[in-house]
Symmetry: C2
Subunit: 135 residues, 2 copies
DNA sequence: ATCGCACCTGGAGCGCACTCCAGGTCAACG
DNA sequence: CGTTGACCTGGAGTGCGCTCCAGGTGCGAT
């Protein structure tokens, strides 16, 4: 197997058909092949590329930068250094993102702790041990 | 000290003055105090609340849900359970977010590795050992 | 007195990343 | 031969979260 209808591609990549068309239109996807009827035919390479796009997208890379990356990727071997630099910069942002999430998660955990405490202080007189018994 | 001008507040919280006004308008900030001239005067409590909002926002909680949380917070002690549940649910999403980022980061690292390899294969004839020597 | 400045208001505008729509084509199925 | 369904196009619309703007006010410094 090596070619996929738009529907299959949407299903496999998690992008909607509309998004696939949109990505092609703005140049993230460089001229997808067509069959006799003018319908898109995605290749295995397209799927691989889409999976890379998905990864970049979900880690928060803006479309403009993915576009830059796509252009480089089309540019052949001379652009490898620049692509490397771009990915490394992005990787650092992802790292930073994770660090921040963890820091903020601590704040959330602390708040959750406060709420837990305030709930356990509230029980003494009110409920005669209704719900929540053992762990 | 215990009261802050809009400008100070913006500086300390990282929200723009416009955003502070917007948050008050939509109800994330419940009637900020005013001085004689009608200008906002933020309290220490406001700053604490804003820091919580910032934390939720940056971990990806949509405004609609922060709104729900704000309403609960205004609702007094009876809403503690619900606030707890809300934060716990959010915490799980944050956890999931971190997991996904890490997974995707692996894909990025792998790609970076490919680029590194393809660069080191390119050197043999060209450069006579210019940059990058040890380590 | 008047200037500059930080702030006020209501409402319009923006950037991003899609998402939806109307109207049309083609292939296959009954 | 008619209908269905997946797909096509260009372009308009959407949702989110701000951000900007015009026009105005009050206060301290010159």
């Amino acid at each position: 197997m090596s070619s996929y209808s738009p529907g299959e591609t949407a299903e496999k990549t998690g992008f909607s058909i509309d998004t696939l068309r949109y990505y092609e239109k703005i140049g993230l996807l460089s001229e997808v092949a067509r069959n006799a009827a003018g319908r898109r035919v995605f290749s295995d390479d397209d799927l691989k590329w889409l999976s890379m796009l998905r990864c970049l997208r979900e880690t928060g890379m803006p479309i403009a930068e993915m576009l830059r990356y796509s252009e480089l990727a089309r540019g052949g071997g001379e652009t490898v250094e620049e692509r490397l630099a771009l990915l490394q910069a992005h990787d650092e942002r992802v790292e930073e993102q994770i660090r921040r999430l963890r820091t903020q998660q601590k704040q959330i955990h602390w708040k959750i702790g406060l709420y837990r405490d305030s709930l356990s202080e509230e029980t003494p007189a009110s409920v005669p041990a209704a719900a929540s018994a053992s762990a």
